[in-house]
Amino acid sequence: MRKPSLLLLILKLLGVLAILAWSLLPIALIVMSSFKSDRDIFSLTSRFSFLPTLANYELLWSRWGDFFFGLWNSFLVTLGATVLAVAVSLLAGFAYSRHASKALQGSAFFLIFIRLIPPIVITLPLFPVVNWLGLNDTHLVLIVLYATFFVSLGTIVMRTFIDQIPRELDEAAMIDGASQFQIIRRVIFPLAAQGMLAVAVFVIVYAWNEFLFAFIFTTTKAKTAPLVVAEMIGAVEGVEWGVLFAASTVQLLPVLAFVILMQKHLVAGLTAGAVKG
C-alpha cells in the first residue's frame, strides 16, 4: 500500500497547488505589481524578483486624490448600509422566528420572491424619483439601496440563528414584564451576535465592492472607490498600470483581510441563507 499512497499524496499536493494558483495568483500578482516600477510591470525577468518601490502609491496620492475621497465615501456608505440592514433584519428575523400566522408566512414568501427582481430593472423608475427627491449623488441613496437588497437574505439568516435561541429565555423575560423590544435588546441581541456578524459580512462585502448602483446614482460627491478604479481602467488605454494596481490593492486589502477573519461567519451565513431559501 506504500506506492498508491505516495501517488495519492502527490496528486493531493498538485490539487492544493492548483487551488492556490487559481485563487491567489491573480490577487498576489496585482498586489506585488503595485510595488513595481513601470519598467518591471510587464518585464519577464523581473516577474517575481524586483526592486520594490512606493512610486505608484505616491503617484496615486498626488494625482488621484479622488480615489481617497472615494474610499471615504465607500466607508460611510458601507457603515450606514450595514447598520441599517443588520438592525431591521434582527427585528424581522425575531418576528419570523417567534410568531407564525398566514399573513406572516405570506410576507416571508414575499421576501424570498423579491430576490428574483434584478437590481438593474428598478434603476429605471428609481432614477427619476431619486432626482426629484434631490437624493442623486448622496450617501443616503446608496445606503438605502444596498441595505434593501440584503434585508431579505438578512432576515432569513437572522431567523435561522434566532431559531436556535431557546424560547424559554424570552418567555422568562416576558414573565418579568419585558416588552418585545426589551426582549430583543436584552435576550436576543447578545445571543444572536453570530447571526448579526454573518449578515454584516454579506452587506459589508457587497456595499464596499458594489459597482452598478454607484455607477448610476452617484457622480461626484458620493462617488465610491470602485467607481474611481473603473475610471482609472477607462483611462488606462494610455497605460498607467502601476497606479491602477496601487488603487486596486488599497481597495481590496481591507475587505480581503476582513473576509478571512470572518470566514466562519461567512460560511455559516451562506449555508443558512441558501438552505432556508
Binding site: 500578482l29 407564525a100 438593474i120 430593472v121 438605502v144 437588497f149 478604479v229 486596486s248
Partner: protein
C-alpha cells in the same frame, strides 16, 4: 399556532417589508406600466400597448444580447458547479492545512468586480500579460478579448467563475460535510467504494444542494452587468452585450425608457420562470408547516 398576527410582529417586520416594498416591489410594478408606454426623461407618457415589446423583440441587438447572456450563464454556472463539486470532494477527502486552504478558496469572494477586471486584464494583456505569454509558450493563439467577441465573452465567463466559485463551493461543501460517515461505511460493506459510492451515495445526497446552488447562480448570473461593462463595454460594435448591458444602454444612452422597461420585465419574467419550480416547492412547504 395562532391564525392572527400579533401587532408587535407587524411592527417588527414592518421596516423590512416597507423597504423591500418601496424600493424594489413598487418600482418593479411601475416598470411594467412603463413598458406599456412611450416615454423618456421629462416627457409625458403615452400608452402604446405591447409596442415596446414588439420593438425590443424585433431588435437584433436584443437577440444578440440574449444569446450572449444564455451562453455565458450556461458556461459560468455549470463550470462553477463542476469545479465546486470537485473541490468539495477534494476537501472532504482530507487536505493538508484545511483552514488556511479554505480561506484561500474564499478569497475571491472579497474581490470587487472592478479589481477582478484589473487582475484578469493584466493577466491576459496581449503580448505582455502572464497568461498571454503562457499561451504563446504552449503554442496557442493569444486571447484577443478586445477584438474578438468570442474571446471577450470567454474572458467575462472566466472572470465570473473566478468571482463566484466561493459561493457554489461553500453550498456544496456544507452539504457534503452533512453526509454522515456511516453511510460510506455501510456502503463499503456492500461493496460500494470509489465511483459506486459517489454515484449511489454522494451524488444523490448532494443533489438538493447542487440544485439550490444552480438556481441561485442562474438567477444571479442572469443579471451580469459589471464584468461585461468593465471588460468589453459591450463592444466591439455591440457584439458582447448581455441583457443588463442592453437594458442600461437603452435607458441611459438612447433614452428609450419604453424598450428598456420592456427588457426589464422580460428579465424579471425569465428570473421567475427559472425559479418557478423552486418557488412552488417553497410555497407548499411554508404553508403546509403552518396548517
Amino acid at each position: 399556532m395562532t391564525a392572527r398576527t400579533p401587532l408587535s410582529a407587524i411592527a417588527l417586520v414592518g421596516p423590512v417589508q416597507l423597504m423591500v416594498g418601496c424600493v424594489i416591489f413598487l418600482p418593479a410594478l411601475y416598470v411594467f406600466w412603463l413598458s406599456l408606454n412611450q416615454s423618456s426623461f421629462g416627457q409625458a407618457a403615452t400608452f402604446v400597448g405591447l409596442a415596446n415589446y414588439a420593438k425590443v423583440l424585433g431588435d437584433p441587438y436584443f437577440w444578440r444580447a440574449l444569446v450572449n447572456t444564455v451562453i455565458v450563464v450556461a458556461i459560468v454556472v455549470h463550470v462553477e458547479l463542476l469545479i465546486g463539486l470537485g473541490m468539495a470532494l477534494f476537501f472532504a477527502s482530507g487536505v493538508p492545512f484545511r483552514p488556511i486552504l479554505l480561506a484561500v478558496v474564499l478569497a475571491p469572494y472579497a474581490v470587487s468586480e472592478v479589481s477582478a477586471v484589473v487582475m484578469w486584464r493584466y493577466l491576459f494583456e496581449p503580448d505582455v500579460g502572464m497568461m498571454s505569454q503562457l499561451l504563446g509558450f504552449i503554442g496557442l493563439p493569444p486571447i484577443e478579448w478586445a477584438v474578438n467577441p468570442n474571446h471577450g465573452l470567454a474572458m467575462v465567463s472566466l472572470l465570473s467563475i473566478w468571482l463566484h466559485l466561493p459561493f457554489s463551493f461553500i453550498i456544496i461543501y456544507a452539504a457534503r460535510l452533512s453526509i454522515p460517515d456511516d453511510l460510506y461505511e455501510a456502503g463499503a460493506i456492500d461493496g460500494a467504494t470509489g465511483w459506486a459510492a459517489f454515484r449511489r451515495i454522494t451524488l444523490p445526497l448532494l443533489m438538493p444542494a447542487l440544485l439550490i446552488a444552480a438556481l441561485f447562480r442562474y438567477i444571479f448570473a442572469f443579471r451580469l452587468f459589471s464584468e461585461v461593462w468593465l471588460m468589453t463595454g459591450g463592444g466591439p460594435a455591440r457584439t458582447t452585450e448581455v441583457m443588463a448591458v442592453y437594458l442600461y444602454l437603452e435607458a441611459f444612452r438612447y433614452n428609450a425608457f419604453g424598450s428598456a422597461a420592456a427588457t426589464g420585465w422580460l428579465l424579471v419574467l425569465a428570473s421567475l420562470l427559472l425559479a418557478l419550480v423552486y418557488l412552488r416547492g417553497l410555497y407548499r412547504e411554508m404553508f403546509r408547516k403552518n396548517a
